[in-house]
Amino acid sequence: MSQDLRQLTLLILSDIHFGPDSCSKDFSNEDNPPKHLVIPSTSMKDSLIEIINKQHKQLDGIIVTGDLTSKGKPSELKGCFEKIIEIAKQVCVDNDNIFFTFGNHDIDWEISKLAELEKPVCDALYLEVAASFCQIYVSNRNCSSPGPVPGSGLFKRDKFEIYIVNSGYFSTHNQSYSHGKLGEKQFQWLSSVMAPMIDSGKWKIFILHHHPFKYSYPSVVEDISCLEEGSDLCDLLGKNNIDIVCHGHRHHPQMYTKMRSGWVSPITFFCAGSLSVNETERRLGEIHNVFHVLSLETRDSNHAAIGTITTYRYSTANGWIQSEASDMIPLDPVQKFGAIETLIEKESEITNIIKSLLNSRSDIHIDMPQYNSLPLCLLCTPIKELNALFKKGAIKHNTKIVGEYPNVVLLKRL
């Protein structure tokens, strides 16, 4: 396996819902803007461009993980595409490096309902038309290997490969749930394109719209957002050395790194939040609008991809600002990922650190290791959780933590 990895930085946008379901006139057409906007408010688009140009100057690409539009209308698809192209230009990303996939909102149900006109025979071709319509206005460029449905394909670039599937293809009006489905053709295609690329040595990124598995949320609600073939997909990805899976759909950012028996290496699953959907679709206003910047840096001994996700949330007053961790967005402003250690393993690491310090030093106040030199599994732990673990570990050894990471921390003997 060649390891000529270079750092990769990607802008991740998701669930724009361009059109009347958006909360910003930047992401809607002029003739049908969203209502009830806050006046005045900082431009979402301008502020996004500003912060990217200030903080993330070397973007390698832009990923948009589906639900580009409110209702799959031609004007919405066209408007969204043009808007992303405009943003890409302003942040110096080539059009070849913009990657879209489609979600359940990107199918025009007015078209798919035409299938019912010839009842009792349902004209399935109309469903196909409705599901394929989006590619007239939105297309990914420079595809290395096109997939069997619109929006799917393999895209090889210098630093990375992106596999794109369309999990919204079957989300026509007659699907009573808006869960995703790939279908046999996409699976077959994936198997055929992934296998030869397994040892390419590049970053492998997989994007779709729907959740490949069910996440846990602060409040228990019926979850209908998972891909029908989620489990099979995860296995396929694991066997084919995928580094990271990016998707959208629930508007609720989350991230997990998982490893299963039979997988080549751990995979990080990242659910992006929504860039600009309105409040009703963000848990009644509880979740912010967000976007993310993904940075892939290196691999660890497990061959897991190690990187960071930087999350920004939108503020009417200040535009996009770095987001703080909360129940709704359980990610640090810059969240490292890639480690798969369990809680017990982390506690064990902490115990080792403390014991080693107590054995080697006799002072009452002992300098703890600096944050950046902590083991990877601890660096990938959200900061609040990390500090809590250290406090707990210190108590067990009749010591106390003084200070908090990422700042200077001491260990005090009691």
């Binding site: 106040h365 300098d367 500090n387 406090k391 210190a394 108590i395 106390k400 933590i401 003084v402 200070g403 908090e404 700042n407 200077v408 921390v409 001491l410 005090k412 009691l414």
Partner: protein, 603 residues
């Protein structure tokens, strides 16, 4: 003098005077905008003080400026000395409406209410104190490890004193979060089990006093020289029973913890303590009252307004010269009344001789006859007559002129007038400047334009007064009544000595709603009272009052003292001592009430 505001024409950026609420100001903003006045510098003393100030007079800013984190940023010799010696360390405790509203109501027994209040205030005070401790640690201990060790010493001491489980508290922030969490859950915690709560339920600030010596020691300061100041803000929301609690501390405790408590006039409604029969005594005994409202012509207010002007306008990035209010607005002559008068009427029609003749002619027959007798004696003519009546005369002429069709005057203009209309109130000043700035974007700030802006602002404020809480509608009607009376006096057929000052006949004060309306007017700087009235906490017959200069603009009154006019009710209206008028609910009813009073001026 060239008017530098002309450079703002066409300016599209935000109005730097839009924000007038100082509570949101961080330390840097306060330091950049608020000048350290002599009053502020005089607050560094070891006396408990209750600061009485009208709305917008700068109470919050003053208290915030006392906090160590703000004080250390000033480059002023006195402030620098205090900050470097750490002789006074303030921490800011706001008692805002939401805080007070979270306390239990009357359906809970008094003792429990008091405990809750004490607990809540102590938590708030502790949290604020800890914020300043962080600042001090950062400044005193430059080596991080030393700082952390000292920080931990403080935490451990506080936890031990307050029975907090200390192993999980690894930073001051953790301790602050702990205080926040027990405050949040107070009603649901078994206080017998949670001993820290019972400690914090002690009388106000006592738990703080108990830990201050140790904190001072850990910080390496001298307990004999270091004084801590609890800057309690927005105390106007305190109920009487809670004021007693704070009074009890004032009575019984002195340094190292000193209270500077800011409240609005008439809101420190009791000097009782929690001990029956024991009161706190002012005038340097237990405490002092200090009225913070500035005089509009005082050096403090002039410096403050210039400083504010400079700081805010510089933000636009359009003007980089030295900015004073005078330079911004431009000056006509020496910015005196006569200069604006001459500008309006022309030099030829405004010679001193013509003015003098005009004055004499406007006087009553009796006064004119008297003039003819004393005409040769300049000492009797110059000051007593001409100087005395000149401002009144100018005002009459200006009003007359402005009421001619198609004629606008540039009278209420210039830096002096802007400061006067602000009446020493920084917030009002910022609000006027907000309007003036908006005008400056579109046109030159000629005296006429300034006059229009100021007139519109004043009328709007007067109208707004009916929206003040509870008595606003009645207050507006009273202001109208008094303003009209004074206006008639100034602009009557014959010129009379007039101004804005008045006193109110005692009987009117017997009517509760009238008294409350007048107190409200004073609290919101619509009526300006003498300091003694505010300190004594009661308006009485000999209280020296004047209509604010904002009202003076609306009624074309000269901004001068004049002989105080007695405003009284007509003799044939009889009121009992405790007469209560039904609270009027709208302007019509309020005017009817005031008409019923049949107010008149008695000279």
């Amino acid at each position: 003098m060239e008017r530098i505001s002309s450079k703002l024409k066409g300016y599209k950026g935000g109005n730097p005077f839009h924000e007038s609420q100082s509570r949101t100001y961080g330390d840097d903003k306060i330091v950049s905008e608020f000048y350290p006045t002599s009053f502020y510098l005089s607050l560094f003393n070891v006396q408990h003080e209750i600061l009485l100030g009208t709305r917008g007079s700068g109470k919050t800013v003053l208290l915030k400026m006392l906090s160590y984190s703000c004080l250390k940023k000033y480059s002023h010799p006195v402030a620098n000395k205090v900050a470097s010696e750490k002789s006074f360390i303030g921490f800011y405790i706001p008692l805002h409406l939401e805080f007070m509203g979270s306390l239990p109501g009357q359906n809970i027994p008094y003792e429990d209410r008091l405990k809750y209040f004490q607990f809540a205030l102590n938590c708030s005070a502790a949290k604020s104190l800890l914020s300043q401790v962080i600042e001090l640690l950062n400044d005193i201990y430059l080596i991080t490890k030393d700082k952390l060790i000292r920080e931990n010493n403080i935490i451990e001491y506080m936890c031990e004193n307050w029975f907090i489980e200390n192993k999980k508290i690894s930073s001051i922030k953790d301790l602050q979060d702990y205080l926040e969490s027990i405050y949040n859950k107070y009603q649901y915690i078994d206080t017998k089990k949670e001993r820290s709560i019972s400690i914090l339920e002690q009388p106000v600030l006592i738990p703080i006093v108990n830990i201050l010596p140790k904190i001072t020691e850990v910080l390496g300061l001298d307990i004999q020289k270091t004084n801590w100041i609890a800057c309690i803000d927005e105390a106007e929301f305190l109920k009487t029973e809670f004021i007693r609690s704070i009074n009890t501390f004032i009575r019984s405790e002195k340094r190292p913890l000193i209270i500077k408590m800011a409240t609005m006039p008439f809101k420190h409604c009791t000097r009782e303590t929690n001990v029956d029969g024991i009161f706190i005594e002012p005038n340097g005994n237990d405490f002092d009252y200090r009225v913070i409202d500035m005089d509009c012509d005082s050096q403090d207010f002039i410096c403050l307004t210039d400083h504010l002007c400079r700081a805010r306008i510089k933000k636009c990035g359009v003007i980089d010269e030295d900015i004073t209010l005078e330079r911004f607005l431009g000056v006509v002559g020496k910015d005196d009344l006569i200069d604006y008068y001459k500008k309006e009427f022309g030099e030829d029609d405004a010679t001193q001789d013509i003015i003098d003749r005009g004055i004499i002619k406007s006087l009553s027959n009796r006064r004119q006859s008297h003039y003819n007798v004393i005409i040769e004696d300049h000492t009797k003519v110059e000051r007593p007559l001409i100087h005395r009546f000149e401002p009144v005369y100018f005002m009459r002429r200006m009003k007359e002129e402005s009421s001619r069709g198609n004629r606008s005057v540039g009278w209420f203009a210039g830096a002096t007038i802007v400061r006067r209309v602000s009446d020493g109130n920084p917030r009002r000043f910022i609000q006027i400047m907000n309007d003036i700035f908006e005008k400056a974007r579109k046109s030159d700030l000629t005296p006429k334009n300034q006059h229009r802006v100021i007139m519109n602002y004043c009328k709007r404020c007067l109208q707004w007064s009916e929206g003040l809480p509870e008595y606003g509608v009645l207050l507006r009607a009273i202001l109208e009544g008094i303003g009209t009376l004074l206006e008639k006096r100034v602009h009557g057929q014959f010129m009379m000595d007039g101004g804005c000052h008045f006193r109110i006949q005692g009987r009117l004060y017997d009517i509760k709603s009238i008294r409350n309306a007048l107190e409200l007017a004073i609290a919101y700087s619509l009526i300006i009272s003498d300091h003694q009235t505010i300190e004594e906490n009661i308006i009485k017959q000999n209280s020296d009052l004047r209509l604010s200069y904002l009202c003076a603009v609306c009624y074309w009154l000269p901004m001068r003292k004049g002989d105080p006019q007695i405003v009284k009710v007509a003799e044939d209206i009889l009121y009992t001592k405790n007469a209560i008028i039904d609270l009027p609910v709208n302007r019509k009813e309020a005017r009817k009430v005031v008409r019923q009073l049949k107010l008149e001026i008695f000279t």
